[in-house]
């Protein structure tokens, strides 16, 4: 089976989103959807479980159907070799060294050719996610169809050889969509910017009662009297956990607080284990720092940690879009973050949070926030509103629908 059955039981998504974004935004979304009645959208990616794209698609497909835009979701099948090749493509597009042999390129096309025969791509609006199924357009495009390629990857450091292989394939699309302007490579088709979004109804972001928070956090044995300063990120050098620790140690000389560094277990990541060991060594016997290794499905715990924190940090040295910032802002948290990747779109300095460029700057802003509940409250409140308007799923759905409407109307002349 390549068709993904999206759950449509339980309360309507629209009702949940109405509470989050308001009637006005949903009215616009519904009006846009009315323009696409009679059209058929097909989403295609390479997995129905795991990963951010699959998470988003489960929601978007259901939301678009609730809005009356017939939408299906197909998953491209592949063999072990294909997944090895697409892993190489993924890594090299992110900038890691590597290349594709002629055989790899041929196998990529062969798998896309076969999938083009088996997938139900009979809609007129086809949205292909990421490189794996990108080649479908070469083998299956029909007259009257509009094909859009949605790239969730930062291509700013892509290996030229691998992008040189994909670029002619992407040229077969009517439009491409990227998360951030810096991710856009030279292309001879319209490249739209659609930032990613978070789901206000997901476990990671939904409202939690004080009792739920208490029950989730109690087993972690964290101090309850001190204000928490928290960074939730994997233990990776680009997330700069050592820089966070240094900044906290400086701030701690001026204000009482507890630092929480929470991230995924590093068992399958040798470099992550190395970074974690360095952080552990630097923490030493300090009792004002907690290192938490969380399982991949600890969404509710992350939610509770963010909600209970006085300050949330994202002091990365490099970032993709960094939606963890929007997750914290949605919970009305005061956020201190580096001005890298997509963070400046989410943090408007001194309005929705504080941007920093150094360890000392981070220490200064953390101290400032710890000393001022009013500032934390003001930034958190504005941050929540900013996310409501710009970084929730209904906005992302709206942008896709607008792109489709644009393509359909342009074709009509």
């Amino acid at each position: 089976m390549t068709l993904v059955a999206v759950r449509d039981d339980g309360p309507a998504l629209l009702d949940g989103y109405r509470a989050a974004v308001g009637e006005g935004s949903l009215r616009t979304l519904a009006a846009l959807a009315r323009r696409l009645r009679g059209h058929q959208v097909v989403m295609v990616n390479s997995t129905s479980t795991g990963g951010g794209v699959a998470e988003i698609l489960h929601r978007l497909v259901r939301l678009m159907n609730e809005l009356g835009v017939a939408t299906t979701w197909e998953v491209m099948p592949g063999d072990t070799r294909f997944y090895g090749i697409t892993k190489t493509i993924h890594n090299t597009l992110h900038g890691w060294p590597g290349t594709l042999s002629d055989d790899d390129r041929e196998h990529f096309h062969e798998m896309n050719r076969r999938a083009a025969m088996s997938l139900a791509l009979d809609g007129d609006l086809i949205l292909i996610h990421d490189p794996q199924p990108a080649g479908l357009v070469v083998h299956r495009r029909q007259p009257g169809q509009h094909w859009v390629w949605r790239c969730h990857i930062d291509l700013s450091r892509a290996q030229p050889d691998v992008w040189g292989f994909l670029s002619p394939i992407v040229s077969g699309y009517d439009a491409a969509v990227f998360s951030h302007v810096s991710f856009v490579p030279p292309l001879d088709l319209p490249a739209y910017l659609v930032p990613p979004s978070i789901d206000p109804l997901a476990d990671k972001n939904r409202d939690l009662t004080p009792e739920e928070q208490e029950a989730l956090l109690a087993p972690l044995d964290l101090p309850v009297r001190r204000p928490w300063v928290t960074q939730i990120s994997r233990f990776d050098r680009i997330k700069d956990p050592l820089g966070v620790l240094d900044a906290f140690i400086l701030a701690r000389k001026r204000e009482d607080a507890h630092l929480i560094l929470a991230g995924g277990s590093a068992n399958d990541d040798p470099e992550g284990a190395e970074v974690l060991a360095e952080v552990r060594e630097r923490v030493g016997k300090r009792t004002d720092v907690s290192l938490l290794l969380l399982p991949p499905d600890a969404h509710l715990i992350i939610n509770a940690l963010q909600r209970r924190s006085s300050v949330v940090l994202q002091k990365s040295l490099r970032e993709g879009f960094a939606l963890t910032v929007s997750e914290a802002l949605w919970k009305r948290r005061a956020v201190v973050a580096s001005a890298v990747g997509g963070i400046p779109l989410q943090i408007l300095h001194e309005r929705t949070g504080l941007l920093v460029g150094s360890v000392q700057g981070c220490a200064f802003q953390v101290t400032r926030l710890l000393r001022s509940p009013d500032l934390r409250k003001r930034l958190g409140a504005e941050g929540r509103v900013h996310v409501r308007h710009n970084f929730l799923h209904p906005r992302e759905a709206r942008d896709y629908l607008a792109i489709f409407a644009r393509l359909v109307e342009a074709a009509k002349g």
């Binding site: 308001g22 739209y192 910017l193």
Partner: protein, 257 residues
């Protein structure tokens, strides 16, 4: 098209943003790209900014002056650009001329100085507007204002900022109010559309001025009304006041900003 027969249909708008191809690394390349930029590019970096910060009580900085201030670190030129943009200068041609005048006033040598690193370059974007009829049609000025009160910021932006910027002159919504016999509302809409304030402030002022105008009209009518009519009018006023007091910003069911 914004009017449906006798009624006026509110439109929202979505801006599809894409790179326009231009990149500036100093004031001179900024000047050259502004000279070449399409109206949609100038629109995105200046006029559209209030929509991106729809709930801000102040007019947010435009992208151009924010870059000149924050990256090129030329505060004086940034201030002049802000001032040029604040007036919105009537049309794309006027705005372009005003911006070029500011940049050409900078000595040529200074325009080349302080070139930024590639990662800090100003990337020109463009906005394709997709207007969206909301299906909300007002049959008269009073229901129109009630519908605006409930509308999202993009509706306010489309009718009072975007539409008149691309087609200079009184906004279509104000023309319609005048045609419907409400010159006072038309005047309020025209003045606030021209004022160059942030969206939240514009919304607040339009609604406040409209309600004040209605109150004046009621007081005037009440002096000629019977005791029962006066009592009923007072009751309506109290109900309206309570509704406004109990409306909080955190209620997303109401239009923001």
């Amino acid at each position: 098209m914004t009017s449906l027969g006798e009624g006026f249909e509110l439109h929202s708008v979505v801006h599809l943003v894409r790179p326009s191809g231009g990149r500036a690394r100093n004031l001179e390349s900024l000047r050259l790209w502004i000279a070449e930029a399409t109206a949609a590019t100038l629109f995105y970096h200046t006029v559209q900014c209030p929509l991106r910060h729809a709930t801000s009580s102040e007019l947010p900085a435009d992208d151009l002056s924010a870059w000149v201030h924050g990256v090129v670190q030329d505060r004086e030129t940034a201030e002049r650009i802000s001032f040029a943009v604040q007036g919105r200068a009537g049309s794309a041609a006027d705005l372009r001329e005003a911006l070029l005048e500011v940049l050409e006033a900078v000595p040529e040598g200074d325009r080349f100085a302080r070139s930024t690193a590639p990662e800090a370059e100003f990337v020109f974007l463009t906005a394709e507007s997709v207007p969206i009829p909301t299906g909300v049609v007002a049959a008269a000025p009073a229901p129109l204002v009630e519908a605006l009160d409930e509308a999202e910021p993009a509706v306010w932006f489309y009718h009072l900022i975007e539409e008149p910027w691309y087609a200079p002159g009184p906004p279509a919504i104000a023309r319609w109010a005048r045609e419907q016999g409400d010159p006072q509302l038309a005047k309020v809409l025209e003045e606030e559309a021209r004022a160059g304030r942030g969206l939240a402030e514009m919304r607040r002022r339009v609604l406040k001025r409209w309600r004040q105008g209605r109150l004046r009209a009621r007081v005037s009518a009440a002096t000629r009304a019977s005791e029962d009519e006066r009592r009923e009018a007072a009751h309506e006023a109290v109900v309206g006041l309570v509704r406004r007091i109990t409306h909080t910003d955190e209620d997303p069911g109401r239009g923001e900003p």
